[in-house]
Point group: C2
Chain length 265, copies 2
């Protein structure tokens, strides 16, 4: 129960004390990784998975033209490279953004964890949750304008960090440079800078020394039609219904009201 991975898995499935202990025991070689250090590279086929017990990392892809696209943020309780039981060539790199407390899980131990049905279930749900976030990002980059993209990203990080206890009031540490944000939202750094200025000038967010404060959660959520539903999977109670206005958990998205032909029995 002590570390963030066990805690996260416990929100995704009913884990026995024995299951939890198995997770704890799977964590080997726990150590501190400084910012900017890359844990695994695109093209590697690692035989360990990293669990980020604390800190902030990202997964990124590198393009032929030198560009970079961040494809996921790895928060406390997440896996750096999440490959389940498979030995797979990674299509992304994993890099620490802040200092990170990182444990390794050898694949053999991962296999043993997957043999426990409750843990396997939790890992399935984790995979589903991650896929759901990826879809939200595709939508973000494909169909939202620049300001909304950034706002949506902030909302998502707020909800996810809140779920792992990294939010105080409406403030959380956000160890991202503007270039990181740009490489997430598919924008130039210059334009990212201007969008952030715009969000600040609307009194929606504020910075103060590595921390981001959401000044107007409702306004921010409305700006980007943020609907946190995609962050919730199964029995996931970690996103408690919050006091936080528009971001958690109400309906901000227009309710879906298309014809439902030939309902499906």
């Amino acid at each position: 129960m002590q570390n963030s991975l066990t805690r996260k898995l416990a929100t995704l499935a009913e884990l026995s004390p024995d299951d939890r202990q198995a997770v704890e025991h799977a964590l080997t070689a726990t150590r501190f990784v400084p910012p900017k250090q890359t844990l695994v590279y695109e093209g590697d086929t690692p035989d360990v998975t990293h669990a980020i017990l604390d800190g902030f990392a990202c997964r990124s892809k590198h393009l032929a033209d030198g560009g970079r696209q961040i494809v996921a943020y790895v928060l406390p309780g997440d896996f750096g490279a999440f490959q389940g039981d498979a030995a797979v060539t990674l299509d992304y790199s994993v890099t620490a953004l802040s200092g990170c407390l990182v444990a390794e899980i050898p694949r053999t131990l991962m296999l043993r964890l997957l043999a426990r049905p409750p843990i396997a279930q939790a890992l399935w749900r984790l995979a589903l949750q991650e896929a759901s976030i990826l879809r939200a990002w595709i939508t973000n980059n494909g169909r939202r304008d620049s300001e909304s993209r950034i706002a949506h990203l902030v909302c998502e990080l707020y909800v996810r960090l809140r779920a792992v206890g990294r939010v105080e009031g409406n403030t959380f540490q956000l160890p991202l440079s503007q270039e990181d944000i740009a490489d997430t939202a598919g924008l130039s750094t210059v334009h990212t800078n201007r969008c952030l200025q715009s969000l600040r000038s609307q009194s929606l967010i504020r910075f103060k020394g590595g921390a981001l404060e959401i000044l107007n959660p409702n306004g921010l959520a409305k700006l980007c039609s943020f609907n946190p539903g995609y962050l919730t999977v199964g029995m996931d109670e970690s996103f408690e219904t919050a006091a936080l206005g528009g971001i958690v958990p109400g309906e901000n998205e227009l309710s879906f009201s298309r014809p439902r032909p030939q309902a499906f029995t």
Copy 2:
């Protein structure tokens, strides 16, 4: 071995004849679904999964402003909504694009399939492959220009359809409207039209009655730096090294050559 789902799973893990038969038996209520029909809606919590045995479907998300983002194509052998064993509220709709042969797998049967380790392994790998595609799409929408986006999409569909035997020569059926492509690539229909014209005028692709022919695979792959590696997971041999120039399987991406600090023991 007869249907495309069994065939696909067999490429992802070693399935015994018994395993295969279990998959076959899990397929219930097989039927034909006409184009444009939606199988499940965003917000639903279905207790069946659909297997697309033949045809072409998509997953899409709907935005508050009426926009649409296609977040995945579902090809023969894929699941419409892939939720493993979890009863989850879907964050996307599944809609047939062409006529589709669709089977249903009740969740109870899915649970029984997951109890078979080889099948569970295949499904894990399928999930990993899907996640990898999602990351490629984020990168596409975030960091590629409009023409490359469309080219990359065409390359991906080519490789995936080829793996399930739906490509003749360099030609395959592509039941997408330009609006569908626009909603995939995050572009307007007008601009999509112009990009397609450009690709045709470069003699890279050609249309003839619902079918797309890739005239110059190398050129198309180079235009968008297409690297098919992300479509291959584990023991996946379905993407045989092809005669098809740049698209399968060589290295088109610049090899990754960044500093590798403190290699990781």
